[in-house]
Amino acid sequence: MKHCIEGSEAVAQAVNNCRPDVISAYPITPQTHIVEELALLKANGHANYEYILADSEFAAASIVLGASATGGRTYTATSSQGLLYMTEVIFDIAGMRLPVIMTVANRAISAPINIWNDQQDSMTVRDSGWIMLYAKDNQSAVDLHLLAYKLAEKLKLPAMINMDGFVLTHTVEPIDIPSVSDTKKFLPSYKPEVGQILDTKNPVTLGSFVTPEYYQEIRFDLHSDLLRAKELFTKEAIKFNKIFHRQHDLVEYYGTAKPDSVIITIGSVFGTIQDVVDELNNRGQKVGVFHLTCFRPFPDEQIVEKLSKIKSIAVLEKDISLGSSAGLDMEIRRALFNKNKSTVTSFVYGLGGRDITPEYIREIFKQIKQ
């Protein structure tokens, strides 16, 4: 059943229905209404998790690391500077193979100080070993949390759900929140394997000291397991669709069947582009738009299959790799290298909350058609 509800509130309720054991967060700007709502649900007796107020983002990440290491289902949320402050722990969580789930309300990074939306925060931790999913709208933000828990617990890897700060987190719109019983059907209780967690009956060490003889092998193990998330995502998305009747793909397409020009993007600007795509196609153009839902692992196969025959590709994103190009642009060019005859053009826009308008989208299509 749909509710007209704020994105953050919807995510919080969906997370509660995933039945986490421990939630920890640090409540300061830049935080989100997500943890406020989770605190409220707990205070009002509508939740069973332990809610631990941390004294910093570093501590919040450390607390969910510890809770996950003892076998609990865990959750945290952060944004911008908070994510950067967590960075050291974020690499540890992945290296220790802990299925922590975190929402990142994507916001700009200082300096200069800016509280508004872009995706620089998440792009900065792309090499940490987390599954990184991006929501195209608030419904997918909600749904991706269920999928994230499933993938994380099956692969023993952490997963991060990115949703555009303000643009999605503060938007009130009709959203379906999966009920507890439907959520249980898709996501049963978490049962860690023997030897996976800290347990006095089966003692293990997590995150131990490793010498040069083994370190590289362990890092490559993490890499190959992370790559497995692609196949599993597709498999689990089919099961999800059977219960909730909503389709989610690693890469999603909207537009005419055989486009000559497309934009590929990541995050909530997808909706604005969809409107422009309809408008241009009604005028006889042949355009489309791709949304990349899964950034880590990167879906090379789907990108090659879907994009290699298209003449002009614009990559639109809200992040920049200073001194080089931008996160998504580099990945698209790498994935398509020697496999296509497309022209790829990078568009970095919307940094620090600059609004991406339909006019700007029309201008991109105009430029890449020339």
Partner: protein
Amino acid sequence: MKKYIQIRIHGRGGQGAVTAANLIAKAAFYEGKFSQAFPNFGVERRGAPVEAFVRISSEPVRIQSQIYQPDFLIVQDPTLLKLVPDVLEGIKKSTVIFVNSEQANWPQLDLLKLYTIPVTDFARQIIGRDITNTGMITAFALITKLIQFESLIKAIKDEFKYKPELISSNIKLMKQIQKYIIENKKIRLK
């Protein structure tokens, strides 16, 4: 572009512009329409200018861009009009404007479709504070007939579910504004 009804609300931090937008979106949703509401904060503090946006449509709202050419403009704080042209940016001849003010004539808005409603006094009397958002959207609903008064009441009960003390005072204010609109037919434009 898709056909959306687009509403832009201007207020100052603390006056409830964001809540006003949320309430309109929820009321429209209860009536079976698709809707979307979202804010654009300046600096997040009391008194700073705040904008909030609402789109209402018969189909799902996909666009996530701000509203530059509103069909309806709601100005909660008349002092913001001194910031012209910011508040009036993108106004079309057809844009209907609602201003919270006792002053009926606004020379700079002369050629525009304007309604003035003195919500602040009513709010001070009934709520005890100059929070004008629910009063302004009541006037908006009754004059435009885009949403029903009853749907707004339902939206308020949902929005303030954790602050029940706000529900009764706001409903009282809304009924007072309803009475005012009915009695003051002269504020209606031809």
